[in-house]
């Protein structure tokens, strides 16, 4: 396996009218080529913002912490993304080495520009192909993702396609430049369950074929279980647990991960009540001190959880958790 992405100590704050809020707090993870990583958490946990940081796509009121380091390993050598300032410099990663698929395919295509024009535009920016060759490749990509009559679809607008077809077109566009990393921000949330499965299968096939890494953002642990190799669980801007999908889903360690898994409805036992995690995710303006989850945690140890930020404890070679329950003192 070759290393594709290193994210170290990613901290991200936003200036808002109410003051500066912390959206991502000291998050580190790595991704290998050909690996799918699930990024899981409730809305507001900072998962989208984390993924967008890899392309520096956050709005202009975002401030990255001084320790933040994001390195993308390309064939031509490592790229230090934090050092790229101008949008011209960022072009290498935006749409070139990294592509992104968004949650709402309808809203992510410009309504008054044809699908084909948007695809050709991206190819013209990132490759030295001419207009004609770009068009051929775009139609070929639309065909590859299973869109019928691709040359007609090429000349159509997003509003003329069905939801599933739009997301396929989005995938075709994202993959047309053969990126090394694909960021998929809840790509199936807005789709019907049957189409969801098709799109996930399609993405998995294409990953194998293109050998790229994927960051798959979702709040659906069921989707992650089927799709990802490893998973990182986020809560209020912190990474609370990460590990191989098998380990995290079979033996979840963090009370938050346990809560998320318990909240999944089960089709085996229809009478079983749904177990919700008590309380709501706090406002980022009122981040709890100590462990960010202590206000909702059922295993709260008391003063320590409210005062001290838990460090990562290694449970096995690739499974770690940030929780005081697993610190050395607690285990003793």
């Amino acid at each position: 396996m070759t290393r594709l992405l290193d994210v170290e100590n990613l901290t991200l704050q936003f200036d808002t009218d109410e003051g500066r809020i912390t959206a991502v707090d000291n998050v580190s993870f790595t991704l290998e080529a050909g690996e799918i990583m699930g990024l899981v958490g409730e809305s507001g946990s900072g998962k989208s913002v984390t993924a967008k940081s890899v392309m520096k796509l956050n709005p202009s009121n975002a401030h990255y912490g001084p320790e933040t380091k994001i390195i993308l390993h390309l064939d031509s050598g490592p790229v230090d993304i934090m050092s790229l300032q101008q949008s011209k410099d960022l072009q290498v990663v935006r749409g070139g080495a990294i592509s992104m698929i968004f949650q709402e395919p309808m809203a992510s295509f410009a309504p008054a520009i044809t699908i084909g024009d948007q695809m050709v535009e991206q190819l013209m920016i990132h490759t030295d192909m001419g207009k004609k060759r770009s068009k051929e490749l775009s139609i070929e990509m639309l065909d590859r993702v299973g869109i019928s009559d691709p040359s007609t679809r090429f000349g159509q607008y997003a509003f003329e396609l069905s939801g599933g077809m739009r997301q396929r077109a989005m995938i075709a566009m994202a993959l047309s430049t053969k990126p090394k990393l694909l960021i998929a921000d809840e790509p199936t949330t807005a789709l019907d369950v049957t189409i969801q499965a098709q799109v996930i299968d399609l993405m998995k096939d294409l990953v194998t074929e293109f050998g790229m890494g994927i960051i798959f953002i979702t709040h659906d642990l069921g989707v992650i279980a089927q799709t990802a190799d490893k998973v990182a669980v986020m809560y209020l801007g912190r990474l609370v647990e990460q590990g191989l999908v098998r380990d995290v889903i079979r033996t979840p360690a963090h009370p938050y991960t346990k809560g998320l898994l318990a909240a999944l409805p089960s089709l085996d036992d229809l009478d079983a009540p749904l177990v919700a995690i008590p309380g709501d995710i706090p406002s980022p303006l009122e981040r709890p001190g100590g462990c960010v989850f202590n206000t909702r945690c059922s295993d709260n140890l008391g003063a320590r959880c409210g005062a001290e930020v838990p460090t990562e404890s290694l449970l096995s070679s690739q499974h770690n958790v940030a929780c005081h329950l697993y610190s050395e003192e607690a285990i003793k």
């Binding site: 935006r94 749409g95 410009a110």
Partner: protein, 334 residues
């Protein structure tokens, strides 16, 4: 193409229908004014010293066709109105078409120029304001546009006239210099016209520009925040290309949509500005017709023409929208 012609035909029919409806309202309003054209004219005559009897009034009514039923007279009026004929003025006894024709075109020209000026400034400035992160630029623009909204046109006109009189000894009133006022159109007259017309265009455009900047800025801010813009950035589109092709291109439709509304606003402000600058075009004539001489025939004609202009520009913007916005184009042309 066939479908497009059908669309244009349907829109044109709707526009004509709107005008017929408007003409009914205008005609009814004219009728509701106490007294009729015959009485008004003879009252005017009487004030000039003539002796008028009830029989004279009745004879005048018959001569003007005022004894015919309401609907028949409306039908007659609207058929003529669509041909640009509005009969004679009640008081002046002159053909209205000859009386206001050139003045109406001048007014329309002034208003359209003001509209053009407003958007020529508002589109670049509004885009800049919506996308600039520079606080000084933003606050400056905000100040100027609030000033534009808050400062009434007539006050601005008076201020400019006062300034010009004090500094240049010329009050800048009227649309023509004395020697050209009654002359036939020529190159010299046109140049003279332009040297006068900039002021009313500027004053009319002043608040229209401020208003249009607010519109463009709001629409652009709205578009800039949309997901498709982020998605385009994520594909590596940047700089001017991103701005013009994505948010600006998509803010265009609602801007086109607002043109009719803006023309209406400018028209509403025209009479006051015209009065102050003593422009002898339709706006001030309208006030004169309504307030001073109670000339309903003339007032009706002017109101009808102004409404027709707005219906006309709405018809044109509908067609432009159908051509530029694929969401509309696809639904009507395919």
């Amino acid at each position: 193409m066939l479908q497009f012609s059908r669309f244009v035909a349907i829109r044109a029919t709707l526009a004509v229908f709107t005008l017929v409806l408007v003409s009914f309202i205008v005609f009814s309003l004219m009728e509701m004014v106490p007294g009729d054209c015959a009485e008004r004219y003879l009252a005017f005559k009487s004030s000039q010293g003539a002796v008028i009897t009830a029989a004279d009034i009745q004879a005048e009514r018959v001569r003007l066709g005022l004894d015919q039923p309401y609907v028949q007279r409306w039908g007659h009026w609207i058929v003529n109105a669509f041909q640009g004929e509005f009969g004679d003025s009640c008081i002046l006894r002159l053909n209205i078409r000859q009386l206001i024709g050139p003045k109406f075109w001048l007014s329309l020209g002034l208003c359209l120029s003001a509209l053009l000026l407003a958007y020529a400034i508002a589109i670049p400035v509004g885009i800049l304001a919506a996308t600039s992160k520079n606080a000084t630029v933003n606050n400056g623009l905000r100040f100027v546009s609030y000033l534009g909204l808050a400062l009434p046109n007539f006050l601005l006109a008076l201020m400019i006239m006062l300034f010009s009189t004090l500094v240049f000894g010329n009050s800048l009133t009227g649309l023509f210099s004395k020697e050209f006022r009654d002359a036939a159109w020529s190159v010299d007259k046109f140049v003279d016209f332009l040297s006068h017309a900039w002021l009313p265009v500027f004053i009319l455009g002043w608040s229209a520009t401020a208003f249009a900047i607010q519109t463009v800025r709001a629409l652009m801010s709205d578009e800039v925040g949309k997901l498709y813009v982020t998605a385009a950035r994520a594909r590596g589109v940047s700089g001017r290309r991103l701005l013009m092709r994505y948010p600006a291109r998509h803010a265009l439709s609602p801007i086109i949509n607002s043109l009719g509304f803006d023309l209406n606003r400018i028209f509403n402000e025209l009479p006051i500005v015209a009065l102050i600058l003593t422009l002898t075009e339709a706006g001030s004539l309208l006030i004169e017709a309504l307030a001073r001489s109670n000339d309903q025939q003339l007032a009706g004609a002017i109101i009808f023409l102004l409404t027709a202009s707005i219906v006309g520009i709405n018809f044109i913007t509908d067609i432009i929208l159908a051509l530029t916005d694929p969401r509309i184009r696809r639904s009507i042309i395919g």
